[in-house]
Amino acid sequence: MNMLRMVVTIILAGILTNNYVLSKFLGICPFLGVSKKLDTAMGMSAAVIFVMVLSTAVTYPIQRFVLEALGLEYLQTIVFILIIAALVQLVEIVLKKYIPALHASLGVYLPLITTNCAVLGCAILVTEDYSSAVYGFGEGYLYALSCAFGSGLGFLVAMAIFAGVRKRMEFCDIPETLKGLPITLVAASLVAMSFLGFAGVVHM
């Protein structure tokens, strides 16, 4: 029961209070780049959730049983980024071969994800926040996976809201200097401000 409550809390925190995009500035590039239309925003978010959960599922045991067991924690950055890059390639190949329909909808976003800091950020953050030294491996693994899933969902929510905001902005009369990226950033600022209202809703 306690564990279930913790999982729900972690997922809610990932969406509302600790939103990766709007409060931790992770994954800003796709947030600004592919949020022009709702369907592309959804495709990108789905790919991010998929890769984020998958990469956390692989990196967490590796951190526990390889890096920590052998005292190689300092290799974390290089090992994690290589795992993520390899995983993205692998997923792309597997999807292309076995589930072409899914590849057609997610495929174009996959190469972009390797350099998405939200994925690497999540993999590193969960090893600190839900380390197996504190929670034990089984429980920590469960929390890490729910954190990855919740953060992915948070990314999706932020993308969906922002795509809506941008669609409305398309027909607005914007001052010449602010056209393009500047007004997009100001809009992002307003969306982020609305998410500040959630502060304190979820207690970890």
Binding site: C29, T115, L120, T177, L178
Partner: protein, 281 residues
């Protein structure tokens, strides 16, 4: 590359894109000319030593690279790369400088090594190879910061290892270091790093002054009375960044520089494997 970028842009942007490509080509040509000039001069120098002339040409290359890195192609304000650390680490001016220096170190080292290996790395696996090289240098910098500046390590936190996926570093490897000699690449790394640090410092100063009423930790007389918390929180970061880019665009227009916001406003354009293929639109 030029064709790819153009096809990506919408029709209305095509004209400005063409202008950008032209200026880029002109710049590259200019560089090539400079390089040959350098070679000629150095040959001349070995024949009959004329040190001052050589020095001035080296100084000229340095000056041009710096001007390009800090003003013409400022990675943050003109190329709009590396948005995540720009927004996240600029709550205080000292953090901004720390982040800038760490990224500059990685940028110089990775540019040099990638340039040295540019003829050895096969084209197909170049991105994983670049990432491995960059990740090694990031690990080194991470350990250095942990050992010699633990306070900085504490305040940069997760964003220090995330230099690996900073678009500026991969972008410069792809755009510059893979095509130029080691010395020039190292210089480009330094110039881009200084440009990055300058932009971060600019943002950090504004956000710290307005958001905390201090500068480098020292309280300011009037501002510290009632600091505007908005600027040190996430929304303030987006807002200040937007305003700075708007200012940079305004200044660029005034000086007739092409306004460039990446591949159709996309900050990921430089490293994006889809750049030009149009898959993400």
């Amino acid at each position: 590359m030029a064709k790819k970028t153009i096809s990506m842009r919408s029709a209305s942007q095509e004209n400005s894109a063409a202008v950008i490509e032209e200026t880029e080509e002109a710049m590259e040509e200019k560089q090539a000319v400079e390089q040959t000039e350098d070679a000629v001069i150095s040959e001349a120098a070995t024949e009959q030593p004329s040190a001052p002339e050589k020095k001035s040409s080296v100084g000229g290359t340095f000056g041009n690279a710096m001007k390009r890195g800090v003003i013409l192609e400022n990675p943050v304000l003109r190329l709009v790369l590396g948005t995540c650390p720009t927004l996240a680490t600029t709550t205080a001016a000292s953090n901004a400088i720390g982040m800038g220096i760490a990224a500059t170190l990685v940028l110089i080292c990775s540019n040099t090594v990638i340039s040295l290996l540019r003829n050895i790395i096969p084209d197909k696996v170049r991105i994983p190879a670049y990432i491995t090289i960059i990740a090694s240098f990031v690990s080194i910098v991470q350990m250095l910061v942990k050992a010699f500046a633990p306070a900085l390590d504490e305040s940069l936190g997760i964003y220090l290892p995330l230099i690996v996926v900073n678009c500026i570093i991969l972008g410069r490897a792809e755009m510059y270091a893979s095509k130029h000699a080691p010395a020039l690449s190292a210089l480009d790394g330094l110039a881009m790093g200084v440009g990055f640090t300058t932009a971060l410092l600019c943002m950090g100063t504004i956000r710290e002054m307005l958001g905390a009423g201090s500068l480098f930790g020292a309280k300011l007389p009037i501002l510290s009375g009632q600091p505007i918390l908005f600027f040190s929180l996430a929304p303030g970061g987006f807002f200040v960044f937007g305003m700075l880019i708007a200012a940079a665009n305004k200044l660029s227009k005034k000086n007739n520089l092409p306004v460039r916001n990446g591949c159709g406003d996309c900050p990921a354009a430089a490293t994006c494997s889809l750049s030009g293929k149009g898959g993400c639109k």
